[in-house]
């Protein structure tokens, strides 16, 4: 029977141990490889969902902002239409002014939201967001900033509307002053008209008085007196 020398056992055990370690490392490596890939896939899915959700939220914010703008525009138009002292041309100018203001602000809010979209996408691309909680943090920040911006924009719109209303009131007041002046001129003209009418009536009454009270003798005496007047004869070249 063949027997191994004492050192050979030790060597064989060492080889087997090494083989086990290699297998173990290999196993661990394979396990790690698959595990990381799975994790990345999961993270990607989460990111995709989160990105979709972020876009959805931002879309809603955009719609809300547009609604705020529309409401402000309607409100401004309502104020304009109720201003009785504003002429058609002034009303049109104010309408155009409000429309331009709203268009400018609409573009501004769309720019802000689009900028957030780009920022969010950049965060994903830079792999700064790797976990759901990370995304949630970023999204919350974006959402807070968006709400803050919207709120600020709402304030701008409200102030603009108030400014527009104030401007309208100022214009209405200006028109009121103009109306007062016109009224004054009208009153003066009317007073003059009434005075002229009274004057005409008084004259007509006097004429009527003479024509009613004069007898034929009065008439004849008056004409004879006139013809006796030397000045009359001179005027007629007699």
């Amino acid at each position: 029977m063949y027997t191994l020398p004492g050192n050979a056992y030790i060597f064989a055990i060492f080889i087997l141990f090494q083989g086990f370690l290699v297998l173990l490392v290999l196993f661990l490596f394979i396990d790690k490889f698959f595990s990381t890939r799975k994790h990345r896939l999961e993270a990607d899915l989460v990111k995709q969902d989160a990105f979709k959700q972020a876009l959805k939220e931002l879309g809603a914010a955009k719609t809300k902002a547009q609604q705020i703008i529309k409401d402000a525009q309607i409100s401004a138009a309502d104020i304009i239409s109720k201003s009785e002292y504003i002429s058609a041309s002034t009303q049109k100018n104010l309408d155009d002014g409000i429309n331009n203001l709203v268009k400018r602000q609409e573009l501004e809010i769309i720019k802000i939201i689009d900028s957030f979209n780009a920022e969010l996408k950049s965060e994903f691309d830079k792999e700064r967001i790797t976990t759901l909680s990370g995304f949630k943090t970023i999204f919350q920040e974006v959402k807070d900033a968006s709400i803050k911006q919207l709120s600020s924009f709402n304030d701008i719109l409200t102030n603009s509307s108030l400014d527009a209303e104030g401007s309208l009131k100022a214009q209405a007041s200006e028109h009121l002053e103009e109306m007062r002046l016109r009224l004054k001129v009208y009153e003066e003209a009317k007073t003059k008209e009434i005075q002229d009418k009274l004057f005409s009536v008084l004259l007509a009454v006097n004429k009527n008085f003479f024509s009613q009270t004069m007898t034929i003798d009065d008439h004849e005496d008056l004409v004879i007196k006139l013809f006796r007047d030397a000045a009359l004869k001179e005027t007629l070249g007699l």
Partner: protein
């Protein structure tokens, strides 16, 4: 030829242009009678004579001289056709007495008794509007009152 002073005598009879028109119309009828046979001729001339005998007597015109009548009538018509009347606008219908007084007043100034062309217009109220020899003079009460009121307008309005 009828003398001018005799024409002026006619003015005493015909103070207005309306009177002269009637006179001229009667002359035309009398002229027609001259070319008619009797008794039509006699009737027309007698009517004329009856109506104007006194006038023609004052003018020393003998209406019985039928051979001269045509010439007289022609001269009279020519005279009145060219007569320059004094146009008066009055607020009343003037009486003969009134027109007579006016003629008397004006005779010395005009040189002869003027014949009046009278229009009645109540708008004048009183007084007279004279249009004579291209001169116009409004002495109506209507004009006088208008002028008075306009001159005193402010005082009248302040008293209202």
């Amino acid at each position: 030829m009828i003398e001018m002073s005799k024409f002026y005598e006619m003015h005493r009879y015909f103070k207005t242009i309306e009177n002269t028109k009637t006179f001229l119309s009667d002359i035309t009828k009398a002229e027609t009678g001259l070319f008619k046979q009797a008794p039509e001729e006699s009737r027309l001339l007698n009517d004329f004579d009856h109506k104007y005998s006194k006038l023609f007597l004052n003018m020393d015109i003998d209406l019985s001289k039928k051979d001269k009548l045509t010439r007289y009538f022609s001269e009279i018509k020519e005279y009145f056709a060219s007569l320059n009347c004094m146009h008066l606008t009055l607020a009343f219908s003037p009486s003969d007495r009134f027109l007579d007084t006016l003629q008397t007043i004006l005779t010395s100034s005009v040189g002869f008794p003027p014949v009046f062309d009278v229009s009645v217009d109540p708008i004048a109220i009183g007084g007279v509007i004279i249009d004579y020899n291209g001169k116009y003079l409004d002495l109506s009460l209507n004009k006088l009152l208008d002028r008075y009121f306009m001159e005193h307008k402010n005082a009248i309005l302040s008293g209202l």
